[in-house]
């Protein structure tokens, strides 16, 4: 089931070629109270094996040096750039097979430069690697029958809290069914000391009594290290959900101050409903719904992305094989999850899959023609 689901997911995660917003005129980068001001750009030179629009990228700091990193799936390696330097600092390749083989890497988390966690979706394994690319430990993360194999990375980042690595195991196996309840298996907590796994968190009641399809079953999260919280965003739910690592508490948070989104399901039929894949994509493209969430530890803010609807004419003509990214807004929330403002982003300008936040700035990857350059515009949130 997850293989078929991934096929269908892939339709949606792509680049906008020509789409026009058919909505009231709003000035991009400006909300009612806040605006985003571009203050800088990062430029990275890419080698012949690397390309942009790569959602598997993160910034880390080690020994006082900030690195922009990304996963190169073709070469199964991690690239490191010092954040303000255009040239690659180092490339760490990993063997796919053999004694220190890690399969095809899907995602990664760097705890320290001598402790790197690599996740292989295909092999359902997490590997702990040292600074010589030697495998120190292997963890099998799939338990057939318990839940869904974790599909992490990008907007569902791996992260570590104490002795646990947390893996987003989104998906319910029954995305085309009218579900009445959900098991508590949406996140896998892997204990890296004893390899035990605990499963926690179920889909919220918002998903009951309707059929939503794969795309709306995605779960997005981020980790707030200041308060030791994991904050979870569901595409169809105006609420946010918070898991507190301090006391194992999980609660729904009503988000105040923003405009509620009213996402329509594929069907309210009982039983099962599986639409044509293009029709499902069009259904999604015509709606406003939530996607990723990012925590800004410097400003103590959250940024939740809103996927805006495509132009109706574009939806009508959509045939499925064009790569498409839709228009976006960023919802800015304070640390009590109250909406401060919503800022519209310009269409066709930024690839949101690689968005990151660092030192109080929002970095957005610029969509541009030179494929040997990776460019991020850095934005300051003005008006706070």
């Amino acid at each position: 089931m997850k293989f078929i689901l991934r096929i269908q997911v892939f339709v949606i995660i792509l680049i906008c070629v020509a789409c026009n917003l058919s909505k009231e005129n709003k000035v991009p980068f400006s909300g009612e109270y806040l605006n985003l001001k571009r203050v800088d750009s990062l430029v990275f030179n890419l080698d012949s094996l690397s390309a942009g629009r790569n959602p598997e990228s993160r910034v880390y700091e080690f020994d006082g040096i900030k690195y922009f990193t990304f996963l190169n799936r073709k070469s199964n390696s991690l690239y490191f750039y010092q954040k303000n330097d255009s040239e690659v600092d180092r490339i760490i390749p990993f063997e796919r097979e053999g004694e220190n083989g890690v399969g095809n890497i899907s995602s990664y988390f760097i705890h320290r430069l001598d402790s790197i966690f690599l996740y292989s979706y295909g092999g359902a394994r997490l590997y702990l690697i040292d600074s010589n690319q030697v495998v120190l430990n292997r963890y099998f993360v799939d338990d057939e029958g318990v839940g869904v194999r974790p599909e992490v990375g990008g907007r569902r980042p791996l992260f570590k809290v104490g002795d646990h690595i947390v893996l987003n195991s989104w998906g319910s196996q029954k995305e085309y069914y009218n579900n009445q309840d959900f098991p508590e298996v949406s996140f896998t907590f892997l204990n890296i000391k004893d390899s035990s796994k605990t499963y926690k968190i179920s889909y919220p009641d918002t998903y009951k009594n309707a059929i939503w399809g794969v795309q709306f079953y995605q779960i997005f999260h981020d980790y707030n290290p200041i308060d030791n919280l994991m904050v979870i965003s569901y595409p169809i739910d105006n609420n946010l959900y918070v898991y507190d690592f301090n006391n194992d508490n999980y609660e729904k948070i009503s988000v105040l101050g923003g405009e509620d989104l009213d996402v329509e399901p594929l069907s309210y039929n009982s039983g099962k409903f599986v639409p044509n894949i293009i029709e499902e994509a069009k259904h999604q493209m015509g709606q406003r719904y939530y996607s990723s969430i990012k925590f800004d530890s410097k400003n103590n803010l959250y940024y939740r992305l809103i996927e805006e609807p495509f132009d109706e004419k574009y939806i009508e003509e959509f045939s499925g094989s064009f790569s498409i990214y839709g228009p976006n807004s960023i919802e800015i929330l304070d640390n009590q999850f109250k909406v401060i403002d919503v800022i519209l982003l310009p269409e066709n300008s930024y690839f949101m899959g690689s968005m990151f936040v660092d030192d109080g700035y929002i970095y957005l990857e610029k969509i541009q023609d030179n494929e040997d350059l990776l460019i991020f515009d850095a934005f300051n949130v003005n008006g706070l």
């Binding site: 892939f10 012949s48 390309a51």
Partner: protein
């Protein structure tokens, strides 16, 4: 429009002395069913340079990603064409899956609904291909 065959429509779009006309061809979209596209790309890698089959890569957004995936020399092979004119619109298919088109104008999508498409093509090539080095 008349009743132009798919083959003749494509050859009008891409007239070329270097492309064999009475051979099957595969149109591979840039995005769609990932497993299906991988299968088609594996065929491309296997048969690049062959005069028994042609490939059209369509709706490509990133040439660099294409070259990283399929080899930097992928577009140097005479039987591989980078389509800029959206030839998929000439074929009555979803556009989500690669499609194999035979000289008799029959066509089959490489999709979960038709799992034998690739095997049948390879069987066809085994019987009909007398490869001449280009």
């Amino acid at each position: 429009m008349g009743c132009d065959s798919i083959n003749s429509k494509i050859s009008k779009i891409y007239p070329s002395e270097n492309l064999e006309s009475e051979v099957p061809f595969i149109i591979i979209p840039n995005a769609g069913c990932p497993g299906c596209i991988s299968s088609a790309e594996n065929l491309l890698i296997k048969y690049r340079g062959s005069n028994c089959i042609n490939f059209y890569l369509t709706r490509v957004v990133s040439k660099k990603k294409l070259k990283i995936k399929l080899g930097y020399d992928v577009l140097e092979y005479e039987n591989i064409v980078l389509d800029s004119l959206d030839i998929l619109s000439e074929v009555n298919v979803s556009g989500f899956y690669p499609v194999i088109i035979y000289p008799d104008n029959s066509y089959f999508e490489i999709s979960p609904d038709y799992p034998n498409a690739v095997n049948e093509l390879e069987g066809y090539l085994e019987h009909n291909c007398h490869d001449i080095e280009r």
